[in-house]
């Protein structure tokens, strides 16, 4: 059957792209990550730890508070990831496999929270959950699910829609229950992408800042908030650097483990299937359940936000939206110009992330040393603090006045978008059976033709998912941007929202909410457009 082990060592022998092309692609991606991730991190850690003796480092590491913080950080991120996966999986199935009215709306809606500013959302969630103050952990997990559901739904869903379902059908015919068939076949087939998307969610929660600050209460500390506290409030850079190094260690360990699991559990064989209409009562139940879940978990805070954005004085109106075109005194440019900057950066960031991401994916798929290095290090930007990376750029990029370049912002966004392109593309490439490539080669296809006709159609879907996330990451990114944006040319919408919420006045708050809604709408439109171009099952709609 179509099942054999991951083509880690065999990939190099299978027909495909010219090995030199793959090698150059790998080196290009590795060079990018070295320049944009490794070098800045090394520079800032070195700068902060110069003259700090091992005894001081040992003292910081052995503080009981350090251990508490690490444990809490990991536990809340694990819990958030688990809940996101459990809630996201049925939604992923529904949008990947079933044809029903509202499917594309559901798919597009799910990604909206991804770009919303945490300050605004956390406040909305706090207002929605009366008990937020009493159960901060619950509020944190809720917010993390809210933001990250899209990662599971879209990355897992994209992969799921291309799974070969013949084995499941065979198993069912041989008398397996749907649950047995799902557990023993589908779940196994999904394992690589579950690890991949789970890791992305974990890293987001691991380094989440705004959610912890607003919903966790003042006492809740994670590695991320502690790095911020020591680097900024206390200017104790050595402590911040040691904590940042701990963060890095956790990320690299997890990335390495995930890469191993992904390779080990890759199941070869994909056969894109059309969507099918819900056949069983269970399918219909899942559709209703998924829609309700998304409506409650994600819809309620968003609706609260929309409602407040049209609230003007004692009545309702679109004044705050019209106001976005006027520059208010507290902003360097009008909110609309900030949106234009954001769009420009999102386009730039997406182009860079997709280019480098595809190069990296090809190299990772090949599985040589460079590929494995890439697989781990490409994830680092998601898992280290924006403070660490931001300061890293400032310390490292003194040559050629790089830190003054306006390109630094979109490139930094691309660095964060890159893992999504890789996570959405690599499992798909790996699922292509060696035999199908060999067959094509035997039939006379050139390596380039094999790539174009076999790999590319599969990679393209993953790439589009990744591109959508890159654009969304860029549109919503706040942490690194606040470090790197210098003047009005790089003043983005999230910065504008944050700034508007730093001065009293109902107009300013209203505009901040209206601008958040505009950001959400933009990403929904973007998602819907990408959706139409994926081509999976569009015929059935």
């Amino acid at each position: 059957m179509g099942r054999d082990r991951a083509p880690v060592t065999t990939a190099s022998r299978t027909p495909g792209l010219n090995p030199w092309v793959v090698r150059v692609a790998g080196l290009l991606a590795a060079g990018f990550i070295t320049a944009m991730v490794v070098w800045p991190l090394v520079a800032v850690l070195r700068r902060s730890l110069t003259g700090v003796g091992p005894s001081r480092i040992g003292e910081i590491l052995t503080r009981s508070s350090t251990a508490d913080v690490v444990v809490f950080t990991v536990m809340q991120a694990l819990a958030s990831t688990a809940v996101t996966l459990i809630i996201g999986l049925p939604v992923a199935y529904v949008v990947a496999k079933l044809a029903f009215n509202g499917r594309s709306v559901l798919r597009a809606a799910v990604i909206v929270p991804f770009v919303l500013p945490t300050v605004v959302v956390a406040a909305a969630i706090k207002a929605t959950l009366d008990s937020a103050a009493d159960a901060p952990l619950f509020a944190i997990i809720y917010a993390h699910v809210f933001f990250n559901l899209a990662v599971v739904v879209r990355v897992v869903g994209g992969y799921w829609s291309q799974l070969d379902s013949r084995q499941v059908e065979a198993a069912r015919m041989l008398g397996a229950s749907p649950w047995q068939a799902w557990r023993t076949i589908t779940l196994r087939q999904l394992r690589p992408v579950l690890f991949g998307s789970g890791l992305l969610v974990f890293l987001f929660c691991f380094t989440s800042y705004g959610v912890i600050r607003v919903l966790g209460g003042v006492r809740t500390a994670t590695l991320e908030t502690e790095i911020h506290r020591y680097a900024i409030a206390r200017a104790e850079f050595d402590v911040a650097a040691v904590l940042a190094a701990l963060q890095l260690l956790v990320v690299l360990t997890l990335a390495w483990l995930s890469a191993r699991f992904q390779r080990r559990y890759t199941v070869v064989g994909n056969r894109p299937r059309r969507l099918h209409r819900p056949t069983s009562g269970f399918d219909r139940l899942l559709i209703t359940g998924s829609t309700l879940t998304v409506a409650v978990v994600q819809g309620l805070p968003v609706m609260a936000m929309v409602g407040q954005s049209v609230r003007v004085g004692d009545g309702f109106g679109l004044d705050h939206y019209r106001g976005l075109f006027d520059r208010v005194d507290v902003l360097p440019v009008s909110a609309a110009e900030a949106v234009a900057n954001s769009i420009l950066f999102a386009v730039g960031a997406t182009v860079v992330a997709v280019t480098v991401g595809l190069a990296a994916a090809v190299a990772i798929h090949r599985g040589d040393g460079v590929g494995r290095w890439l697989e781990a290090f490409a994830l680092v930007p998601l898992g280290v603090s924006a403070v660490t990376l931001g300061f890293g750029y400032l310390v490292a990029f003194t040559v050629l006045d790089l830190r003054e370049s306006i390109w630094l912002v979109p490139v930094a966004h691309a660095v964060v978008g890159l893992p999504f392109v890789i996570a959405a593309t690599v499992p798909a490439l790996r699922s292509i059976g060696r035999r199908i490539r060999e067959a094509a080669a035997v039939l006379g296809a050139s390596p380039a033709m094999v790539w174009r006709t076999i790999d590319w159609p599969v990679a393209r879907r993953g790439m589009l998912t990744g591109a959508g996330f890159s654009a969304a990451v860029s549109l919503g990114e706040f942490g690194a941007t606040s470090f790197l944006a210098r003047g009005e040319d790089s003043f983005t919408a999230p910065l504008a929202i944050f700034r508007l919420l730093s001065t009293p006045g109902q107009q300013l708050r209203g505009q901040a909410l209206a601008l958040s809604v505009v950001l959400g709408l933009m990403v929904a439109v973007l998602a819907a457009v990408v959706e139409r171009n994926r081509g999976d099952g569009a015929t059935l709609l």
């Binding site: 900024i232 420009l344 210098r486 003047g487 109902q506 107009q507």
Partner: protein
């Protein structure tokens, strides 16, 4: 067809961008501001050379970079006259809040990312001075500034503006009589309506803690906070979470909040309903005065231009621009403040203050003690 379809997202975005840009142009045309007129003068200088310098003189000879906090804002074209007069172009670099600003300047010391830094306040001043971030510079304009603002005898920094961190209350929503002093917050009925910020994470939060230390003394402030905490004060990590989360205007149920003496002015200017008077009031007996400074960053290769910019910032044009953009007061007393401030700003007769050296020496101890009392 399929290839084309890949480009649709990009094209959609481009179109959206153009639409946004157009909408904005239309708006500029409809309501030209005074600053736009200044820019217009520069454009039409050729046909109008009797009054204005020739366009050649506008061509900047050098650029000076100003590192400042995110709250920095000036009217459009404010720096144009400076560029015209001196041939120096100004590039503004935003660097986070006051604390972030000092941290990034320390980390990049020796290879500064700018020539001038503005926005370090008296609560962070000593940390910046200890790190030797600045080169001494004494502005000739300093004589028109009251001595009380000149905290650094070595002239490494120049005072630019000041503001007071004060407790605000929403007049119509306070349960009971409106409070008249921060003493009232020690009573449970007011403490329960009060939201403030973690002094370690928030600049106004820290300033208010300093106000209580200055008012009740090094041995008395703990008792005050014990009572405030027992009464059920709410604490957030940032000003936005408090003001737009827990406080009335964000839909919260707290009617008393730590904010600024000028917040009522902003509430009036950015109001969505017509108020006769500001909806918020200020408790003036517990205000901590924050003074913001500018300094020439050590390691700049353009010290003359940096000095010229500082002169401009203490000068009348920049000083007059400060209030409506940043909601703080100019240090230059000869500069008139806008009507809105005259009308609605609460005068703080006796602001509280502490020596920057004392603040830096005790910062960690005070915030830790505070956390043990209030966050238990």
């Amino acid at each position: 067809m399929r290839k084309l379809s890949v480009w649709i997202p990009a094209i959609t975005m481009a179109v959206a961008m153009v639409l946004v840009a157009c909408g904005d142009d239309g708006d500029d045309g409809a309501a030209p501001s005074e600053a736009d007129q200044t820019a217009g003068d520069t454009d039409t200088a050729e046909s109008d050379d009797a009054e204005e310098p020739t366009p050649e003189a506008v061509e900047p000879e050098t650029t000076v970079r100003l590192l400042t906090h995110d709250s920095f804002s000036v009217s459009d074209g404010l720096f144009d006259q400076f560029t015209l007069d001196t041939g120096i172009d100004v590039e503004v670099v935003k660097g986070g809040d006051a604390g972030e600003l000092v941290s990034r300047a320390i980390l990049t010391a020796g290879e500064p990312e700018a020539d001038v830094m503005f926005g370090v306040d008296n609560t962070f001043l000593q940390r910046a001075l200890d790190a030797e971030l600045f080169e001494p510079y004494r502005s000739g304009v300093l004589d028109s500034i009251p001595d009380e603002f000149e905290l650094d005898p070595d002239n490494q920094v120049t005072p630019i503006d000041y503001g007071d961190v004060c407790v605000n209350y929403w007049r119509s929503e306070v349960d009971g009589e409106v409070p008249t002093s921060i003493d009232d917050l020690a009573q449970p009925e007011y403490a329960a309506q009060f939201v403030t910020m973690d002094p370690e994470a928030s600049s106004p939060g820290f300033a208010f803690l300093l106000a209580t230390i200055a008012k009740y003394g090094e041995d008395g402030w703990q008792d005050y906070w014990r009572q405030v905490a027992d009464g059920g004060v709410a604490v957030t990590s940032g000003w936005s979470d408090a003001y737009y989360g827990e406080f009335i205007p964000g839909g919260g149920d707290k009617a008393i909040v730590t904010s600024y003496a000028t917040s009522p002015v902003a509430e009036m200017i950015f109001a969505t309903v017509d108020y006769d008077e500001p909806p918020t009031g200020v408790l003036t007996d517990g205000c901590f005065r924050q003074i913001e400074f500018a300094g020439v960053l050590a390691g700049t290769d353009n010290p003359e231009a940096a000095g010229a910019l500082i002169d401009f910032m203490v000068g009348p044009e920049f000083q007059a621009d400060i209030p409506l953009n940043m909601f703080v007061f100019p240090v230059n007393e000869s500069v008139p403040v806008p009507d809105a401030f005259d009308q609605w700003a609460t005068t703080v007769e006796n602001p509280l203050t502490l020596d920057p050296i004392e603040i830096e020496a005790n910062r960690s101890r005070w915030t830790e003690e505070w956390a043990e009392i209030v966050l238990r």
